[in-house]
């Protein structure tokens, strides 16, 4: 809503209230009308009194104080080259003063934070910060405007004595216009723009960052894309319009009258506008044209910039070079050179030509790079290039020393916090804009725009609040304080796919005025919009299989019933008076059978059907049923008689429908009615549930944190820490698992803290001999087993030979089996022994090696 047409709103509101009074006197009309004029006056008075009480919170300086010693050396001292440049600049200044006695002094070498003279060009430090928004000029400008708090200069018409480095500005988050433009210029140069710091003159509003006369950029109407109403194409055989039988003369006269009226209205409007503008003009400024200001100039050419433009670092807005706020330019510079404007600025900056190669218009300081505009972009370093050229010259020119400023840096957190303390308030014409950092407010508020009717910002009209990262997907809430209407916009992803909701702030509950818009493509029932008033509900659908697109319900008043307090509203639903349902044409049916509108007059027990128009017909068939008296009994068989229905058929010659067909239709309709009633109740229930959900969400207002956001996502953080801890434990356990082969021997000598050489040698020998013994023991063990097995086999063989004669077949088989098994065992043992013999020396060597490198013994070997 446009703020400027405040009066219209007032009128509209009055009407609205009257209407409300008629519609729902039981709600609020009585209370408001009942209030006496005296009471109102008293309230007004109270309001005024309250307005007079203004709190001024104390301002705390949050900037950390830095001591001189904390700064690095280049901040405190000038090296030789810098000194040379300063001398050069001084020389330039002297000549300039000599030649142009009546011109203002140049801004060349202010003191820095350590009271050291520094040349302005070396204060610029081109930097590209690692945030993708900062690759474009508007992102940079916004950051500088938000991140740095503007401090006015001591004197509005004198050049400042000091200018601190951009790095310090970032740290302190404070700076004057020169410091801010230097910072912005550094960022822009880093991003590849052809940017310059400008020293010049601007209007009072501009220099003091007074935007109260500007319309808030958020309120500026975007260029509405005019959807041209497609002109009806005149085809060859398009029929001629019917003859106009009205008198042309009268028409003309009427047209003239109308025109006149319109003109009058237009004139009145213009007059009012002019008056308003006159009123809003700022008071005259005594120092007009003298106020010193600094801003940034971006020249066309690099980064596909089509035209030169200015960026105001205080607000972050960009302007054309012909803008009224900029009154003149004294000099401009970047990290390579310094130019003095030689053009007449009596007409502001409107006539200036920014051809820096033209030395009649722009007097340069360093001859080295006189044509910065004509530089071919693919040359990496302008300075180097210029230097090369100089070498060819007979004279050797001075080139710019590197910047003395520390590298600029911003952490992600600092970048996201943006404004100091994460908050910023800007006043505009009849509007107040508050910005907050993400996650700063518990409810996710990031921007609040309050619009007022007057310029003193007391009469609130509308508040727009933008939210981010909210769990309930709330994106924007618009509160109209005049009409009391609240509109909430949601992003996609809510459980019931709500997109937009408008309601009155005084009646947020169900069964009140309310409009809900849904993401219909996500909903199964294709609901797009639901409008409610206390006694009616309208629903719109799209793309439904049953062709339903509209349902309107009229409710009756609730019957007063004695109810236990706090019972659910669903236990006593509002009676439904009628339901109107409309359907799109279903081409599969004939028009005579395809219902276009179905009205259930529930209160009257009637059902009214209107069918679709047949192609080329202007009338539609109609049928009406009177519901049989027992229709509402569940399970009852409907009675029917032909006089319960009446009809109008478009085609009079068509056979009247059969009673059986009509009866079936009636049965179907009765069940449809029940379904529709169900649908309505479901919708009511849904509204109630949505409102409940909203209430809960509003109370909780938890913010969503992306899983990729490692800083904020507490859960992920804890998980990570937990995992690290687990890994550590795992490692520890594994270390413990590894057996200490020296432990028993160390225990023998009483676990000494430190070993002597002798002890160490003994320890080693003991260890090795122990291993040797064990290896031999093992070999012996295998051997003994082998022998035992062989002996047993031999015994068995003997027994077999002896008893072979009188042996059963079974026994023989058993014997054979035993033999093969024994042989297998013997073989295995043999193999094992062989392998052991092979492995034993290796094991011994390995232990020896290990002992030699063991931490406790290695120092002795």
């Amino acid at each position: 809503m446009d703020v400027s047409d405040g009066p219209a709103i007032v009128i509209g509101e009055g009407e609205n209230e009257q209407e409300n009074g008629e519609d729902a006197p039981q709600q609020n009309g009585e209370t408001e009308n009942g209030m006496s004029a005296e009471a109102l006056a008293a309230v007004e008075e109270l309001k005024e009194e309250m307005d007079n009480i203004v709190l001024e919170p104390p301002v705390i300086d949050f900037a950390p104080t830095q001591f001189l010693e904390d700064f690095p050396l280049p901040y405190r001292e000038n090296d030789n080259k810098e000194r040379l440049v300063l001398a050069y600049a001084e020389n330039f200044r002297l000549q300039y003063v000599h030649l142009y006695r009546d011109r203002k002094p140049l801004f060349l070498n202010p003191l820095n934070e350590c009271n050291t003279e520094k040349f302005v060009c070396t204060t610029i430090r081109p930097t590209l910060l690692p945030f993708h928004e900062l690759y474009n000029f508007d992102g940079c400008a916004e950051l500088v405007a938000d991140y740095v708090t503007f401090e006015a200069m001591e004197s509005p018409i004198e050049l400042p004595k000091t200018m601190v480095s951009p790095a310090t500005v970032l740290k302190r988050q404070k700076g004057n216009c020169f410091e801010m433009s230097t910072l912005l210029c550094s960022l822009l140069l880093g991003a590849g723009y052809d940017a310059y710091v400008v020293c010049g003159y601007a209007t009072r509003e501009c220099t003091l960052r007074d935007e109260t006369r500007d319309i808030c950029p958020l309120l500026k109407k975007k260029d509405e894309v005019k959807t041209e109403t497609e002109k009806k194409e005149v085809k060859k055989y398009t029929v001629k319009p019917p003859k106009d039988l009205r008198s042309k003369f009268i028409l003309k006269q009427e047209g003239r009258k109308e025109e006149e009226k319109e003109r009058e209205i237009q004139e009145k409007r213009n007059e009012e506008k002019a008056k308003q503008e006159e009123l809003e003009k700022p008071p005259a400024d005594d120092l007009f044209g003298l106020r010193i200001h600094s801003w940034v100039l971006v020249l066309a050419g690099k980064r596909e910039v089509p035209e030169n433009f200015f960026i105001e670092p205080l607000t972050g807005n960009s302007y054309a070079t012909t803008h009224d706020a900029f009154l003149g330019i004294e000099s401009i510079w970047n990290n390579n050179n310094y130019w003095v404007n030689m053009q007449d600025c009596s007409n502001g900056c409107k006539d200036l030509v920014f051809d820096l190669g033209d030395c009649v218009r722009w007097e340069y300081m360093f001859p080295s790079n006189d044509k910065p505009i004509l530089d071919i972009p693919d040359v990496d370093d302008d300075g180097l290039d210029a230097f090369d050229e100089d070498e060819e010259d007979v004279e050797k020119h001075l080139d710019m020393p590197p910047s003395w400023v520390e590298p600029l840096s911003l952490t992600l957190k600092e970048y996201q916090t943006r404004c100091p303390q994460g908050k910023k308030t800007v006043l505009y014409k009849r509007a107040k804009l508050e910005k907050f950092a993400h996650y700063l407010n518990k409810d996710g508020l990031i921007t609040r725009l309050s619009m007022y009717h007057d310029r003193e910002l007391t009469d609130l009209v509308q508040v727009k609040e933008w939210f981010s990262n909210r769990n309930d997907k709330l994106d924007l809430r618009v509160t109209n304080h005049r009409t009391g209407q609240v509109t909430e916009y949601y992003k996609q992803g809510r459980t019931r796919h709500l997109k937009e909701q408008t309601y009155k702030a005084i009646s947020p509950g169900p069964e009140s005025d309310r409009t809900q818009i849904f993401y219909n493509n996500a909903r199964v029932d294709g609901l797009t919009k639901r409008e409610e008033t206390p006694l009616a509900m309208t629903e719109h659908f799209t793309d439904r299989d049953d062709f339903l697109f509209y349902r309107h319900v009229v409710f009756g008043r609730r019957q007063k019933k004695l109810e236990p307090a706090g019972s659910l509203p669903s236990s006593n639903p509002r009676p439904i008076v009628k339901i109107i349902e409309r359907f799109h044409r279903n081409k599969a049916k004939s028009a005579d059978e395809d219902v276009a509108e179905r009205i259930f007059l529930i209160a009257e027990d009637r059902i009214h059907l209107t069918f679709h128009h047949e192609d080329g017909k202007i009338t539609a068939s109609v049928r009406e049923f009177i519901k049989p008296p027992n229709a509402n009994d569940k399970g009852a068989i409907l009675t029917y008689s032909p006089d319960m229905t009446s009809t109008f058929q478009v085609d009079p010659h068509k056979k009247p429908a059969k009673n059986l067909y009509l009866y079936n239709m009636l049965v179907e309709l009765v069940s449809q009615e029940e379904k529709s009633v169900h649908g309505v109740r479901d919708s009511e229930e849904e509204v109630r549930e949505i409102l409940n959900d909203r209430k809960l969400e509003e109370e909780e207002s938890e913010l969503d944190i992306s899983v990729y956001d490692t800083e904020r996502n507490e859960k992920a953080k804890q998980h990570r820490i937990e995992r690290e801890r687990q890994q550590l434990e795992e490692k520890k356990r594994r270390e413990e698992m590894e057996l200490d082969y020296l432990a028993p021997f160390l225990a023998q000598i009483g676990d000494p803290e430190k070993l002597t050489r002798q002890e160490a040698i003994k320890l080693k020998e003991d260890c090795l001999s122990d291993l040797k013994q064990r290896l031999i023991d093992k070999a012996n063990l295998i051997q003994s087993r082998f022998e035992k097995e062989t002996a047993e086999l031999q015994k068995k063989q003997q027994w077999y030979q002896q008893n072979q004669v009188n042996m059963q077949k079974d026994d023989e088989e058993e014997y054979m089996e035993y033999c093969s098994e024994a042989m297998f065992r013997i073989n295995i043992l043999q193999l094992r022994l062989n392998r052991h013999k092979e492995m034993a020396p290796m094991k011994y060597m390995a232990l020896e090696q290990k002992l030699r490198t063991d931490g406790r013994l290695s120092e002795f070997f």
Binding site: K235, K236, Y237, T238, V239, K240, P242, H613, G616, K617, I618, T619, I637, L638, T639, Y640, F648, V650, P652, K658, N659, L660, Y663, N664, V667
Partner: protein
């Protein structure tokens, strides 16, 4: 075992059939379902031969009115609906489902009246021949199981058929089902099918998902299952069981080459069909443009087909070359006619479609005007009627009624005014259209005439040249100066000057006649098309439409007046 099988049967079939039952017969679903359930179970336990013996004992019955009425009565709506149905005369044309099972019917007859029948059950009868079903074009479900049918026939008209049950009959070949493209379920178990190759016939049914073949002789063959699965690609259920993936892959593997061959044959046949179709549409287009057979030497050749003299004359020395150049030139002109004709045809089509678009637009606009007017009136009417019921004073009532009457007449005036306006508009437009169409056609005709007269010139030149050659040849022949031997036929002509001249002229006349005929044909058809089109437009867009609308308005207004007159108002007494 039997119980288990029957359950399975019913369940798989019911995947489709239950839905059918539900939508078709609503209330008697339960009965039908249980009947089917028990039937299958019962029949698996008893062998079919026992069954027919059982029925043989009763005399065969005939489908007559009594039988039909009884069936309808039994199966029709129940309760209140039944009462209503009984009060009215039931028309056979309204019935959508009919069950005539266990009736011992021998011959399908007297069903021609049931034109909207969707479901017909004739199972468990002794029918021997499929017949008398041609008028039941809406049939979706046909059950002829447990009969004595031997041949599948006379099903060509039932194009909507989706479910066909021929279980337990004596069929030995699957055939004569080409038009049943929507077939979804086919049950042809317990028959005499013995050739597996016969099943390839079922490939053409792209929707066939369920088939029952069990109990046929070929089921004993080892390769039966894989063969069926491989050759009917759309199949999902075979013999009441879901075909699993393994079987499918195995079948595919085993019959890969055979199937590939089949597919190749089918695609080539399909391509051929498409080609033919395309050629036919192209020819139809040329026909519509009246220039068919003019894009080649067809006309030229037709000149000489019925001309016996020309063939003789062609052997005259030098005529050969003459004919060649003649042909070339004529074909060039014919092609000009051809392309011009197509071009003009397109133009005319565009003109016609544009005309119709405009007419439709005008009608639509007019309709909308009428509809909004009627909607406005409807609002007034409702309010008025509501008011009337409240008024008790007869004077006020009379004035109110008078007002209503006036409003109604006013509405009539307005609607008729709209109609008149539309009539005027359409008349103008149609006149315009007629004029420009006539221009177009006459243009076309003139141009074609010009081109054809060029052909005629060519013919004249050709004729002269031939005559020249003929006479000179005659002279030479007479003087015996000819080197080449001449054919006997030609010699017959080279008698004297008159003979040869008349022969040449006769040929020439034939040619000219043919050319004239072709020209007349084009012109006549073009003019005829235009005349019939204009006739149709006048009739449809002017006369019929106007009458319909006037009738509609009068009917509507009469109805409005009637309604008020019939109101029983409290104030009337």
């Amino acid at each position: 075992m039997n119980m288990h099988f029957s359950t399975l049967t019913t369940l798989t079939v019911s995947q489709y059939s239950v839905v059918q039952y539900c939508c078709l017969s609503g209330s008697n679903f339960d009965v039908a379902y249980s009947k089917r359930f028990s039937r299958v179970g019962f029949l698996k336990t008893h062998h079919c031969t026992k069954m027919s013996r059982l029925y043989d004992t009763v005399a065969p019955s005939v489908i007559d009115e009594k039988l039909l009425l009884k069936a309808i009565d039994e199966q029709g709506p129940k309760e209140e609906a039944g009462r209503i149905a009984k009060e009215e005369e039931t028309e056979f044309a309204d019935i959508i489902a009919l069950r005539l099972d266990f009736k011992n019917i021998l011959k399908i007859d007297n069903l021609w009246e049931f034109t909207s029948l969707v479901k017909l059950q004739l199972d468990n009868n002794i029918i021997e021949k499929i017949e008398g079903l041609d008028s039941l074009v809406n049939l979706v479900w046909l059950d002829l199981s447990f009969n004595n049918i031997e041949v599948i026939e006379n099903l060509d008209k039932l194009t909507k058929l989706e479910d066909l049950t021929l279980y337990n009959n004596r069929i030995s070949v699957i055939e004569n089902m080409d038009t049943l493209t929507r077939l979804h379920v086919l049950s042809i178990g317990n028959n005499n099918l013995s050739s597996l190759d016969n099943l390839i016939y079922l490939r053409k049914f792209k929707n066939l998902q369920t088939i029952n073949l069990s109990g046929n002789p070929f089921c004993d063959e080892a390769k039966y299952k894989l063969f069926v699965v491989a050759h009917i690609p759309s199949l999902v259920y075979l013999d009441f069981r879901l075909i699993d993936e393994n079987t499918k892959t195995a079948a595919k593997e085993q019959y890969r080459y055979a199937i590939e061959e089949l597919v190749a044959d089918e695609t080539s046949a399909e391509n051929k069909r498409l080609e033919l179709e395309a050629a036919e549409t192209e020819f139809n287009k040329q026909m519509a443009a009246y220039v068919e057979n003019l894009d080649g030497p067809q006309l030229f050749e037709s000149l000489f087909t019925d001309d016996p003299e020309a063939q003789k004359l062609a052997s005259l020395p030098g005529v050969d070359e003459l004919l060649n150049t003649y042909k070339e030139k004529m074909v060039a002109i014919c092609q000009q006619v051809f392309s011009f004709g197509l071009q003009e045809h397109e133009k005319r089509q565009k003109e016609v479609s544009e005309f119709y678009a405009c007419v439709e637009e005008a009608k639509k606009e007019n309709k909308e005007m009428g509809v909004t007017k009627i909607a406005d009136f409807d609002k007034y009417r409702k309010k008025c009627l509501a008011d009337l019921t409240l008024i008790s004073d007869s004077k006020v009532m009379d004035s109110k009624l008078g007002e209503y009457d006036e409003e109604t007449s006013k509405l009539w005036d307005i609607l008729m005014g709209y109609e008149l306006q539309l009539v005027d508009q359409l008349e103008d437009t149609i006149k315009d259209f007629e004029r420009s169409l006539a221009d177009m056609v006459s243009n076309f005709v003139e141009h074609v005439q010009g081109l054809i007269s060029q052909v005629r010139d060519l013919e004249n030149i050709h004729h002269e040249k031939v005559l020249e050659i003929a006479i000179s040849t005659l002279e030479k022949y007479v003087k015996n100066e000819l080197d080449d031997e001449l054919s006997e036929e030609l010699k017959m002509l080279l008698v004297d000057k008159d003979t040869i001249t008349s022969a040449v002229s006769a040929s020439h006349d034939v040619h000219l006649l043919k050319i004239d005929n072709r020209e007349d044909d084009i012109i006549q058809r073009a003019n005829g098309w235009m005349a019939s089109l204009m006739e149709r437009i006048h009739q449809e867009e002017e006369v019929v439409r106007n009458r319909d609308r006037v009738k509609e308005i009068n009917n509507f207004i009469d109805n409005l007046k009637e309604e008020v007159r019939n109101l029983e108002l409290p104030g009337m007494q």
